[in-house]
Amino acid sequence: PALRSLFLFMHIMRNVVLKLYIILCVFPEYIVGFTGYFSAKARSLYISSALRSAGDGTLEWHIVPRENPASDFPSDFELVHIRQASPSSLLTLEDHPYIKRVTPQRKVFRSLKYIPSPEPAAPCNATRGTQKWQSWQSSRPFRRTSLSLGSGFWHATGRHSSRRLLRAIPRHVAQILQADVLWQMGHTGSGVKVAVFDTGLSEKHPHFKNVKERTNWTNEKTLDDGLGHGTFVAGVIASMRECQGFAPDSELHIFRVFTNNQVSYTSWFLDAFNYAILKKIDVLNLSIGGPDFMDHPFVDKVWELTANRVIMVSAIGNDGPLYGTLNNPADQMDVIGVGGIDFEDNIARFSSRGMTTWELPGGYGRVKPDIVTYGSGVRGSGMKEGCRSLSGTSVASPVVAGAVTLLASTVLNRELVNPASMKQALIASARRLPGVNMFEQGHGKLDLIRAYQILNSYRPQASLSPSYIDLTECPYMWPYCSQPIYYGGMPTIVNVTILNGMGVTGRIVDKPYLPQNGDHIDVAISYSPVLWPWAGYLAVSISVAKKAASWEGIAQGHVMVTVASPAENDVGGELTSTVKLPIKVKIVPTPPRSKRVLWDQYHNLRYPPGYFPRDNLRMKNDPLDWNGDHIHTNFRDMYQHLRSMGYFVEVLGAPITCFDASQYGTLLMVDSEEEYFPEEITKLRRDIDNGLSLIIFSDWYNTSVMRKVKFYDENTRQWWMPDTGGANIPALNDLISVWGMAFSDGLYEGDFTLADHDMYYASGCSIARFPEDGIVIAKNLKDQGAGAWFNVGQQPCWLTGNFLICVSLVQI
């Protein structure tokens, strides 16, 4: 007995959590237990007869009704409320032949006394360190219809209504997403091949029961995970114990594509992807990404994977909260791009957001991420054993990959599961978060059980993302809802993605047509000639018809799109699916010219088409200008400020010769890198003579600094020379020289005050020449050219005139 109590003690101590019960007796309710199952009527009869015989009849009592699904059926107990019961009356109750016993009702309070397990406490900075693994930009750094269920667009997430535990107990993500419901049905991911592209996994890790294969694609001769990231990601997907993953029985294929120094090369990925295709992988998790969507071999290979029925899941990026920070390949139409939320359903601060920027300057970007899920403080497998907590979209990505693997295993007819159908199921079932726009949350947060329901009743079809256009819906349809449309304005473009679950390749049949509804608007459509792989674009361009030039109100209509794919079971035949895209817009009368501002997007260039250095030289972490330079991406604050002052801002995605300047009060040129055609210069001069104003934010241009920001890129193994400075000041000088104005190549920085506003001037030039009869407002700032420290990459440098002296820290 002493030994037994010792074991018991040890067992309790080994459990990290001690559960404590506090049981209160709730007077005066009693549970009356019967000897068998009786109907409600019979039960009340027995109780009333028993209590009648109890004596004087002054006993006040009534049966407490229990309204639940079991109330229609016979039960073996009844809950009775007896006022001032005496022990004798209870005894007489028990005397009844059919009554077994009477016990007082109890109320149970449980509280978890949590003892944290003895793992090293990871300070906040440590987890942020793991998500900010950024080697040089162009390598692949870490960080990384009828389908709707018929309910309204806004779903309750319980965030504002229900009481929720505010203590920061680390959550078990698979259970929060109710994966146990699917486990109990017998679905655990078996028969699904999932590939983890990461830092590898150690041999015989206790958490994994079905590691089919580990392969190494790096130049380090090891298959093990020296960092812990790959183990964590694999654990979130398929761990079978402790911090359990979604699909413990899935067939894991571990691809080690990163070295222990978090270095990887496109060429390694190409070979590893080829192997994944050969092995007929079903789901592939890629918790990495970068801004280079023009890495054609890589992008082509991801398309090839999708075309070979591999469901790609990738992290949208950790460069938030700035807009215009989406990473590739998560920004692709055929890939499921995943953003991060915390356990309070707030978008994680680091989660990348904003529209895609492939389509600039002439078009408009697509909505990404596709869905969001938990990526903050998620628990997963530790490197050797045990569990640890990590944050980042590279954590949210395997949550979705694990969910996808589990979902794939629930479908009887595996032929129905393909990259499009899975994506359609996830986005149709996602629960929208209130107060967040679509370029932050996509379609909302992952709902595993609803996705299961949709996937298991799926029939091959096409769908649209977003599935409707409502330019009045705020804040979800920001930025569209932030400015109504009017006659004469630049067309509003919505870049809709077509998802085609019927086949790898598809096409739009005939031209989509717009029925004669909402004739106040003109809708123009363009679309991909071929929908491959599994997806394509549908660009909807909305402008106000001339007849509504002075009209105000809401216009509605819809577009019908029919998609066709070759049918596999019918030679020469096609499967078709027709989708409806509702459109709703708010129209206002055309504002006066003085209230209309035109943003020049055409001359804003950014990486990856070329190497454009960052605008603020003091910023250490991001050497490239890659955020799109659009008013709805990194210049969002400027846009919102202008809107709040009552201005209407439109975007010019074409050369200056392509707009009617009499419609606009001001042309806004911010951070222009592109050169100007002679025709543009002539036309602009005429426009300004006719009343157009021009505002230029000139940035910096200094040849010694540009020479210094050239660097040797490890990934491409080449020297990168910047294509221009922060802005193309020589080109701007060509533009403004006709008025006798010019910018200098000086470099200045400092604080200043204009009226009541305190401002910071970061790495800009000065005005070298201006007409004498003009007005110049000047301020003395720190001349970085006269000798000042600032950072070029990681090195602190001293700029004096034409010389730039930098201190290099040599790594030994």
């Binding site: 090369y265 060429s267 070979d271 390749t505 792989p533």
Partner: protein, 200 residues
């Protein structure tokens, strides 16, 4: 303490310290460069004395195997190649996965868009050309000399069809400077040599 300080102030002591640090710095930097150079070439070099243990089954000539069902290349926008070497349009694909040989546009062992160096512009034609029986010696030579970096892929390939599907895909051999194609046009190669660099 004072003695030590005085010693450290002596010029020759400082000179020795400086000299040793300089030697250490030089040796470690050079060593690091050497290591990275060696690692980088690992994937590019063709190792003639290290054979990968490939096990591809080639079906030569008269195959007694009855073809009731075909595997095919599944991925194409408009074209597909089946395991018998026929290229057809998607609409001419039979229910069993084989190409309809009677359709007017179906061709077998077609090397359209393929150059003399064995690199083609269209993936499906590369696979079809590769499946031609007379390509077998070429493929065997490639396998015998394939670099260790391709070990994973080409040891897992089981037959002629899988070999051609895998061989024709773009790979680390197809790129220069990691993110650019050596030849953006003819980038699918069944032959031994990587795509020729396009002149800039």
């Amino acid at each position: 303490m004072m003695v030590l300080r005085r010693l450290l102030r002596k010029r020759w002591v400082l000179g020795v310290v400086f000299g040793l640090s300089l030697i250490y710095f030089l040796t470690s930097t050079l060593k690091q460069e050497e290591r990275t150079i060696r690692d980088r070439t690992l994937l590019e070099v063709r190792d003639s004395d290290h054979r990968i243990p490939w096990k591809v089954r080639f079906n030569l000539g008269n195959s007694s195997r009855q073809i009731t069902q075909c595997r095919n290349s599944i991925q194409g926008k408009t074209l597909l190649t089946d395991e018998l070497g026929y290229v057809c349009e998607r609409k001419d694909l039979l229910i069993n996965g084989c190409c309809n040989v009677n359709a007017p546009s179906t061709r077998q062992y077609i090397c359209k868009s393929c150059l003399a160096n064995g690199c083609c512009s269209i993936y499906e034609y590369c696979v079809s050309c590769c499946l031609q029986p007379d390509k077998q010696p070429l493929l065997e030579r490639f396998l015998n000399r394939a670099a260790e970096g391709f070990q994973n892929l080409f040891t897992a390939v089981e037959d002629h069809f899988e070999l051609c599907l895998a061989k024709c895909r773009t790979s680390s051999q197809s790129v220069q400077h990691e993110n650019t194609y050596r030849n953006p046009q003819a980038k699918y190669c069944y032959g031994e040599s990587p795509p020729e660099l396009l002149p800039v």
